[in-house]
Symmetry: D3
Subunit: 144 residues, 6 copies
Amino acid sequence: MPTSDVETIEAGRLTEARLIEMVFPEQTNHYGTLYGGQALALMDKAAFIAASRYARRAVVTASSERVDFHVPVRQGQLVELLARVVATGNTSITVEVKLYSEDLLTGERQLCTVGRFVLVAIDADGRKSPVLPLNVAAQGNHQP
Amino acid sequence: MPTSDVETIEAGRLTEARLIEMVFPEQTNHYGTLYGGQALALMDKAAFIAASRYARRAVVTASSERVDFHVPVRQGQLVELLARVVATGNTSITVEVKLYSEDLLTGERQLCTVGRFVLVAIDADGRKSPVLPLNVAAQGNHQP
Amino acid sequence: MPTSDVETIEAGRLTEARLIEMVFPEQTNHYGTLYGGQALALMDKAAFIAASRYARRAVVTASSERVDFHVPVRQGQLVELLARVVATGNTSITVEVKLYSEDLLTGERQLCTVGRFVLVAIDADGRKSPVLPLNVAAQGNHQP
Amino acid sequence: MPTSDVETIEAGRLTEARLIEMVFPEQTNHYGTLYGGQALALMDKAAFIAASRYARRAVVTASSERVDFHVPVRQGQLVELLARVVATGNTSITVEVKLYSEDLLTGERQLCTVGRFVLVAIDADGRKSPVLPLNVAAQGNHQP
Amino acid sequence: MPTSDVETIEAGRLTEARLIEMVFPEQTNHYGTLYGGQALALMDKAAFIAASRYARRAVVTASSERVDFHVPVRQGQLVELLARVVATGNTSITVEVKLYSEDLLTGERQLCTVGRFVLVAIDADGRKSPVLPLNVAAQGNHQP
Amino acid sequence: MPTSDVETIEAGRLTEARLIEMVFPEQTNHYGTLYGGQALALMDKAAFIAASRYARRAVVTASSERVDFHVPVRQGQLVELLARVVATGNTSITVEVKLYSEDLLTGERQLCTVGRFVLVAIDADGRKSPVLPLNVAAQGNHQP
């Protein structure tokens, strides 16, 4: 393996994170469907990664908005999460997270739910800390 | 140990569930505070148990309302969750969940966040299924 | 959410802890019943929390007494643990733990086993450390 | 949330999977670096997803080729895995997996290791089963 | 790799099981020592494997005898468990389990605790089922 | 329990590690067989323990050689790993790991795969560090 150089991806350059998760038995109820709370945990994780990558600062979740669960995810399906920074405040970052299910064998794929999470950047003392304003024009370069 | 008899606690009799959770490293960010998504997962779990106990039917989470995280929970603290059925519809159960942190050594205890979750009862075919209406007068008998 | 004030619950005030656990596949044998060792781990956890809360000191388990498993807990049931400080020595706390199973759908609830654990309070150097003597009269105020 | 239609992604259409994983304490040695075996497990997981998506059949890992670990991944970094189907046989799928580390705060990103895994498609009886030949021209459409 | 033939190890032939476990952060308290309950869970697991191997029947734990914890196990140490069938009844198997700690860097190794677990063989209907009587003379052949 | 003395097992004395693992649902695919990547993770863990015990130094995995998976391991079987130091370089330790499956009920036992892992000893600054040369004559004393 040729060892690669270190690349540095600065704050503001990445606005997305794409995660794939397998659904395990301990994340499902007795009916084999993903608990709502497990879906929320995965969505917050995707939001955390997208906001951290965008800000290159420590971030914590300040709030999650209302989330509706219309389409269940079943054990044996994949969950794919697409998190995207959609707005910034002085110290806050709003991330929209789409959760898709994908059946590995049939290839059926469906948007199951969408949520918005607001995260706040903090400094080493836990105080709110400024973030780069979102430059909508720069949003084309999503993937490292 | 004297083996105890089986007691049956019917639908409608219990309206609360009280859970204690330890906060583990894998549930916290690099700053040692519980991820928002992990808090949501614990809150949904408490809501699921309270609603199942109330309805004695299969239930699934239909929605989580907006949740704000004002007080962080730190590694090495307990989380105590108090879930309470606060409303019922034809097939739905609304559960309010309070999340407290408790420091085992100092004894400091604090309400960290409150959330509401709506769960729906389903039958064996996954169709919505009626639930007992909440009898506010009966709410005194919370613990088994 | 209105941020709540910090309450401090001093040593000696709380003598109980009540925990609910879901039974997951990885805690059960091939016959779908909770391993005895998993039951012991949950019981010790409840004893640890009750003793820590009582003493507001670091505690470690010094011994577990004989435990008999007469009633199996099955996957898809809840386990509820009720831990109660029943005696204190100079540096030790004896906690009795009752383990109940509860079937979420049928509402059947049963005492499965009872155990006693002795925990010892230790200071920062790991030396045994005195604990408040149990005041039986004060035992009415169990829940925070 | 508007419920989305079900899309079906047929065999042969997707040739990639992109996964992001957080590095947890239990995946690292005492020096805070990811165990080689945990890296292999993540790489095989990415290969499994890429091969399943490509074939839309049950697949099992038949072999992993030699993997060298030159750049350690540290706790508190992300791992991003990029798995890509690079060859097919009658019943086998060869997947190349690149493992990158990314430091959330500094934005430093580095290719840590590359591995190749051969997976075999199997039918319901566990017998080897044919897969679509890889059409190199079709490889532009990687992401669902 | 040359595929090996299948060997069959009949009931009564193996009387021991030797397990090594790493101690992970989530199994330790805030002082970095293994919870007593986690030690009990590991010991019961070793007893389960030794009794299953001996009987080649389904077994469940009927009781654990008093266990004292005199020597703490610390994070970053190994736990080695040596379980040995020491007695049989008509349907029961008594297993003695020794738990050793081993520091990987210093090589210090110490017997931390010893426990006895009684397991009962059950048939497909959950009824007690006879086990081979322990032939003390046969105990020389411990390892497969 | 009589507390035992501390024994010290010096570098070079132990050349083997024997581990038993249960196969859990979350380590298996939908067909109930252990993922190849989970087998690799268990094999690397066994190699890590054997190399650490041999060297009594911090070790990290430098490479894993080609591994073929011919015999699947099924849920409900044991995995037994036998890791053995087979060669040493100036700073490296080569460990061969055999992975056996064992069916607890039938007693069927089979060699499933063999792999070789090279680990490197490192000092506190992460630099390569010399290891004792393997003395083949000394290999008779494998178990502590």
